[in-house]
């Protein structure tokens, strides 16, 4: 068989390599990536900037990963066009494939803002190079940063910069932080934790225009900065598939084996849509675990096996200055039962928050802040859509425990003699 070709070099791509190699140990794999680095963990770019991990620890797989898996890499090369059984690089070179995985990820979305071109030190903080570049600026004396966008990427950048002693201002059009993941209460806790650590928030407004190192906000405020991080949003990279005639919605459409509508072309990761079982519709779930699982499923299919990926759910684990947030499923739904509880310390201060969202006889979403231990038990209830008929829901609300399941489940899952 002809080579496997993978466009992309992150979690979905690595998942694909590992998926292929479960079944096919020999056929060569070619990875093409426009980034010059060996596979690294994208979420770690903020940890690297914040000094929470070392440069040599950000690589997603070991140094020998490519050789061990018979993978050749074309790094720093961009695919310009997708053909029926080959891809054309922007250099004009053509690479033939037997099966192709499109794992092109997403690109930052930067709305047009007046004067943005005047800003020299502006970044979208989506790749290692931007992290290295900001690191360099901070090392060389950058003292302040403005972050546009209070989503995951913006806030992780804020945390990293605060850890480096940089004065950070975060602005967002929305009135709260992490609006896509958290409800008001959870959002307030995160905001407070970042504020305790020096972050300044200006919410509910947008930047009107920029000078080289100053932002003028719509609400009249003026913010000076040495570094500007633009983290307003991301858009999936769907162009290659779209131009080749593949079906694209918000993201690239695939079946549960991650196959696109094009022959021999699969797609996985942030560039695709997933069927979110909690929302009952296709969504872009731009999450690393999701990308890996899609990539792995694609890899197995590409190698001739069957490993459907049909349990996608939104989920996030994120932390700021030791305050952890774990959420999964559809935690914003309000049409069913919702259990919410504040977590307090001994002196009665609110330190965290817990919210469980129920659908018909099942758990469909949750948010845990601060007390996050064993959250995966809740995740599993959502992912497996476990019926709560035999589960003591009051106990479930108290804490995630395996005791909640019946004896037979425990026997099956824990393999113990019960």
């Amino acid at each position: 068989m002809l080579n496997y070709v993978i466009i992309g070099n992150s979690a979905a791509a690595i998942g694909c390599v590992e998926g292929i190699r479960k079944l096919d140990k020999d056929t060569p794999i070619v990875i093409i990536s426009d980034e010059p680095h060996r596979t690294y963990s994208r979420p770690l770019i903020s940890y690297r900037l914040g000094g929470q991990t070392k440069h040599d620890k950000i690589f997603y797989r070991g140094e020998n990963f490519y050789t061990d898996n018979n993978v050749s890499t074309l790094l720093g090369k961009r695919v310009a066009k997708l053909n029926a059984s080959s891809v054309t690089l922007s250099s004009g070179e053509e690479i033939a494939f037997g099966k192709l995985l499109v794992a092109t990820g997403s690109k930052p979305f930067v709305p047009p803002m007046t004067g943005l071109d005047n800003v020299k030190n502006k970044f979208t903080f989506m790749d290692l190079d931007s992290s290295i570049a900001i690191d360099g600026l901070v090392t060389n004396g950058a003292k302040s940063a403005l972050i546009v966008g209070a989503g995951l990427i913006g806030l992780k950048a804020a945390e990293a910069l605060l850890l480096r002693g940089v004065a950070v201002t975060v602005i967002d059009m929305a009135a709260k932080v992490m609006p896509s993941v958290l409800d008001d209460e959870g959002s307030a806790l995160i905001k407070a934790r970042l504020e305790q650590n020096g972050a300044k928030f200006i919410l509910g407004t947008v930047a009107d225009k920029f000078d080289e190192a100053t932002a003028y906000l719509k609400n009249g405020d003026k913010v000076d900065f040495d570094v500007l991080v633009l983290a307003v949003g991301v858009r999936p990279n769907t162009e290659l598939v779209k131009e080749a005639g593949g079906e694209v919605g918000l993201g690239i459409k695939t079946d549960k084996f991650q196959k696109t509508t094009l022959d021999n072309v699969y797609a996985a990761g942030d560039c695709t849509e997933s069927f979110d079982i909690t929302a009952g519709k296709d969504k872009i779930l731009a999450l690393l675990p999701n990308a890996y699982l899609q990539g792995e499923a694609a890899g197995v299919s590409m190698a001739g096996g069957e490993m459907p990926y049909d349990k996608a759910i939104p989920m996030n684990a994120i932390g700021f200055f030791g305050l952890h947030v774990i959420s999964a499923g559809d935690s914003m739904r309000t049409d069913g039962k919702v259990y919410a509880e504040q977590i307090k310390d001994k002196s009665g201060n609110v330190t965290g928050y817990k919210k469980l969202v129920f659908g018909e006889n099942k758990l469909v979403g949750y948010i845990l802040i601060d007390e996050v231990d064993r959250a995966g038990i809740y995740t599993s209830l959502i992912r497996e859509q476990t019926s709560l008929s035999d589960v003591d829901v009051t106990e479930l609300e108290k804490s995630p425990r395996l005791m909640l399941y019946g004896k037979s489940y425990r026997k099956e899952k824990l393999g113990g003699q019960v």
């Binding site: 979690a11 998942g15 963990s41 979420p43 770690l44 940890y47 929470q52 991990t53 620890k57 950000i58 690589f59 997603y60 797989r61 070991g62 690393l288 675990p289 890996y292 699982l293 792995e296 989920m315 996030n316 684990a317 994120i318 932390g319 030791g322 952890h324 774990i326 999964a328 996050v372 231990d373 064993r374 959250a375 995966g376 038990i377 995740t379 599993s380 992912r383 497996e384 995630p400 425990r401 395996l402 005791m403 004896k407 425990r410 899952k413 824990l414 393999g415 113990g416 003699q417 019960v418």
Partner: protein, 144 residues
């Protein structure tokens, strides 16, 4: 592969497994010394107590390990069927805590990493929980 199984019929809920586990993984030979440190050693096994039944649970070393697949850094990996964590690469993001269906990932809050059962392979010993269980409720067996 031999794994640790818990027979809840015989679990007394004494919690000794947690202490033996924590002690073993503290690197100290002496439990008193291990626990006299400022930072208490962490067990990787947890006893759940019910009204008439108790059981201990630790990493099941799943065939489909969501923790490994979801690990953002590559710190978690499968080594001969045993799921292990390279703490030098872990950043404590807790995606594995989010993913583990059994709630078996343990947070080391101070070190900003996670820790988990490795069947005591890193200590080259019979699992401390198995060794220390006074009622053979925790056993090391090949049941596959």
């Amino acid at each position: 592969m031999k794994k640790v199984y818990v027979n809840e019929e015989w679990c007394l809920g004494c919690h000794l497994c947690e202490y033996y586990c924590a002690g073993m993984n503290s690197g100290e030979r002496d439990l008193v010394k291990a626990f006299s440190r400022e930072k208490k050693p962490l067990p990787r096994i947890r006893v759940e107590e019910g009204t008439d039944v108790n059981f201990a649970v630790q990493c099941r070393h799943c065939a489909v390990p969501y923790c490994v697949k979801g690990c953002i850094t590559g710190a978690l990996s499968v080594n001969d069927g045993v799921i292990v964590c390279d703490q030098t690469r872990c950043v404590g993001c807790l995606t594995c805590v989010l993913s583990c269906p059994y709630g078996c990932i343990v947070r080391d809050e101070e070190a900003h990493v996670i820790t988990k059962c490795d069947l005591c392979l890193s200590r080259n010993a019979t699992p401390a929980c198995v060794e220390g269980c006074p009622n053979k409720a925790i056993v090391l067996e090949d049941r596959e």
